[in-house]
């Protein structure tokens, strides 16, 4: 067996520096957008007292969910003992940290009072799942940080197994926490469902792995290193399983809701006559994010095609983004039923009507900056730490 050598992503190529410059530019735009929103107040956004969480939350939740999923590859290597996955563990940890940081920056900069971060850190209401999430996120950085160290430093290798397990359970808790943000909202018909938490976990598996495949392929392309087809095929097949599982969970979620008469209204809204939200659900989430990538990942026609794998992963991400959009924005746009059995004839506060929401440019720029922050951290991290094997050529026969 060949000895595995890790090295920093050493490349002076314009591809690397040009990419980094582009990412920095996106981040700067996002920071300017955040300043604009905080300086003027949220009235410059599309958000209102009806749709209180907008596009920045969609980006933030998407990145946070993907972050815990990106750690999966490392977990498969250390918790479930997959030899093909083990060399990818370090990069998986770095990507997880990057994605989480990107998501949290967006979440923070969309607060009404971001300068009060210190209040959020010093005042805790332990009944709030949000407060728990602050602890879960901080802990995730720490544990994954130690985990990466244990993977890199030979002297710390004794902690490898322990931190591997700790990180695995922590990431499950983290996604449960993120899913529960919605699962605990008893009043809103689209959210009040225990299935939210496990559904978010399976969504994280799928988005995280899609992010992983794309960043891994880009890194190896950037540095002109070898990436074996067999390893990529394993990752691709796993992604297919996760995409199928997300579809299954969505099916169960909607079937359960359809059984409950009280939820017929919101189901009709999402599945049939919700306009943009219905299109996003069927075209975005189900077709682009589910059926097409599933076909591309499993069809023999594409089995050796790297471009197809990259496109399928990208589509999983786009579909996932729409899925979160439908959950977050669609769930708020549908009116809460304050008075069952009554119709609202008039209200100055939009009771009983679908709330309008058109995201502003600034919101989109802040959200994209979150993605750019995640990618920059990964690019800079991979340049400074030995996270990527010099070659990921397929192992010889008998090892897999």
């Amino acid at each position: 067996m060949k000895k595995l050598h890790y090295s920093e992503l050493w490349c002076s190529s314009p591809r690397y520096w040009g990419g980094l410059a582009a990412l920095t530019f996106i981040i700067l735009l996002g920071m300017a957008a955040a300043f604009h929103m905080e300086h003027s107040g949220h009235w410059v956004t599309g958000m209102s007292n009806q749709v209180v969480w907008g596009l920045p939350h969609v980006f933030a939740i998407f990145l946070i969910v993907a972050a815990s999923g990106a750690l999966n590859v490392a977990s498969i290597g250390s918790v479930f003992g997959g030899p093909l996955y083990k060399p990818l563990g370090r990069f998986s940890g770095l990507l997880a940290i990057g994605l989480l940081a990107g998501g949290l920056v967006v979440l923070l900069l969309d607060l009404g009072r971001p300068e009060r971060l210190i209040v959020a850190i010093t005042h805790y209401n332990f009944k709030s799942i949000f407060a728990w999430n602050i602890i879960l996120y901080t802990g995730f950085f720490t544990i994954v940080g130690i985990y990466i160290w244990a993977m890199i430093d030979r002297k710390a290798q004794k902690f490898y197994q322990v931190t591997g397990f700790a990180a695995f359970f922590w990431r499950l808790a983290l996604t449960t926490g993120t899913g529960s943000i919605f699962g605990f909202l008893v009043a809103r018909e689209a959210y009040d469902a225990a299935i939210m938490a496990p559904m978010f976990i399976i969504m994280s598996f799928s988005y995280g792995l899609a992010f992983f495949i794309i960043t891994l392929m880009s890194a190896y392309w950037w540095a002109s290193r070898q990436l074996g087809s067999h390893r990529l095929e394993k990752l691709k097949n796993l992604l297919g399983v996760f995409v199928g599982a997300v579809l299954y969970f969505s099916l169960v979620y909607h079937l359960t809701n359809l059984y409950v008469t009280q939820h017929h209204g919101v189901e009709r809204f999402i599945l049939l006559d919700g306009g943009l939200y219905t299109v996003m659900f069927w075209l975005g989430q189900i077709t682009i994010g589910g059926i097409i990538p599933l076909f591309m990942l499993y069809s023999p026609a594409f089995s050796e095609n790297r471009f197809a794998i990259a496109i399928a992963s990208l589509m999983v991400l786009i579909g996932g983004f729409f899925q979160i959009y439908v959950i977050v924005i669609g769930g708020q746009a549908y009116p809460m039923n304050l008075f069952p059995g009554k119709e609202v004839l008039s209200s100055s506060f939009y009771d009983g009507v679908v709330a309008a929401y058109t995201p502003s440019l600034a919101e989109g720029m802040l959200g994209l900056a979150g993605v750019a922050i995640a990618m920059t951290l990964v690019a800079v991290g991979a340049r400074m730490l030995k996270v990527l094997p010099e070659s990921l050529e397929d192992p010889e026969e008998g090892i897999a």
Partner: protein
């Protein structure tokens, strides 16, 4: 010799230093003590858990197209002082400006019966907004009033997601003018606080109740739910009333008759 001569002066110096420190100490501590003593008036005592403030709204008496309660609330709490940001359209301004109390007109899908009512924070015994607030800024006072501590609100808006009554508003724009009765800050969440400034200074009615009464409708009755002798308790005993979304078991402090 010189040392002996200087000794009394040295003692004086020490005395001087001592008395200076003492004076400085008194000057530092005294205002605090005085303030505490001055504060200990009945007006500023902590909220009393023997009381639970609540309301009864008689929907039969609530008149279509009347906005007396809404107007009074906006005046009382300085909501009318907020200026629409330049370039803001009508629809968005209405969707974004704070509304502590709003009028809702309903029709029963089966019977066609039409009901008018004011909707505001229901001051739940088990408020979901308090449960979800990460910093504890959203809290319930001992006397049952649910409100937001503007000093610890980080503007995350999770309480607005959790409130089943859409009772909360986020301040979307810069605040130029405000009243000392209802401090307001851009980027914080706020909602009806049952005119806490009035109650704490001994008043027994809210602005909306006064306005409704002045217009001769008497649809709103404010009072102590825990005192069986209060007008509110007596009215609740006599009439059949209900909670909005009673299925959530939040035990609201605001009740409605004829709904």
């Amino acid at each position: 010799m010189a040392g002996k001569k200087e000794q009394p002066q040295d003692i004086k110096r020490r005395e001087f230093i001592g008395s200076t420190i003492l004076a400085a100490g008194v000057a530092t501590v005294a205002p605090g003590v005085l303030l505490t003593v001055a504060n200990a008036t009945s007006e500023d005592e902590g909220a009393n858990s023997e009381i639970r403030w609540g309301m009864l709204i008689d929907s039969n008496k609530c008149v279509d197209n009347c906005t007396a309660c809404v107007d009074a609330c906006e005046r009382e709490n300085g909501i009318d002082l907020l200026r629409r940001p330049q370039g803001q359209g009508d629809e968005m301004w209405n969707a974004q400006r704070p509304q502590w109390i709003r009028k809702v007109k309903l029709r029963d899908r089966q019977t066609g019966e039409v009901t008018n009512l004011p909707m505001m924070c229901q001051h739940c015994e088990f408020p979901p907004c308090v449960d979800v607030c990460p910093t504890g800024a959203s809290f319930k006072r001992a006397d049952g009033i649910v409100l937001v501590d503007r000093h610890t609100c980080i503007g995350c808006r999770y309480c607005m997601m959790a409130c089943p009554y859409k009772a909360r508003s986020f301040v979307h724009q810069n605040v130029e003018q405000q009243t000392i009765r209802a401090p307001r800050g851009k980027g914080c969440v706020e909602s009806c606080n049952l005119c806490i400034h009035r109650i704490d200074s001994g008043a027994t009615t809210t602005a909306c109740q006064d306005a409704c009464e002045k217009d001769g409708h008497k649809a709103i009755l404010f009072g102590d739910l825990k005192n069986p002798e209060s007008e509110l308790s007596k009215a609740l005993q006599q009439k059949s009333s209900r909670q909005v979304r009673a299925d959530l078991e939040l035990n609201t402090g605001v009740r409605y008759t004829s709904l």
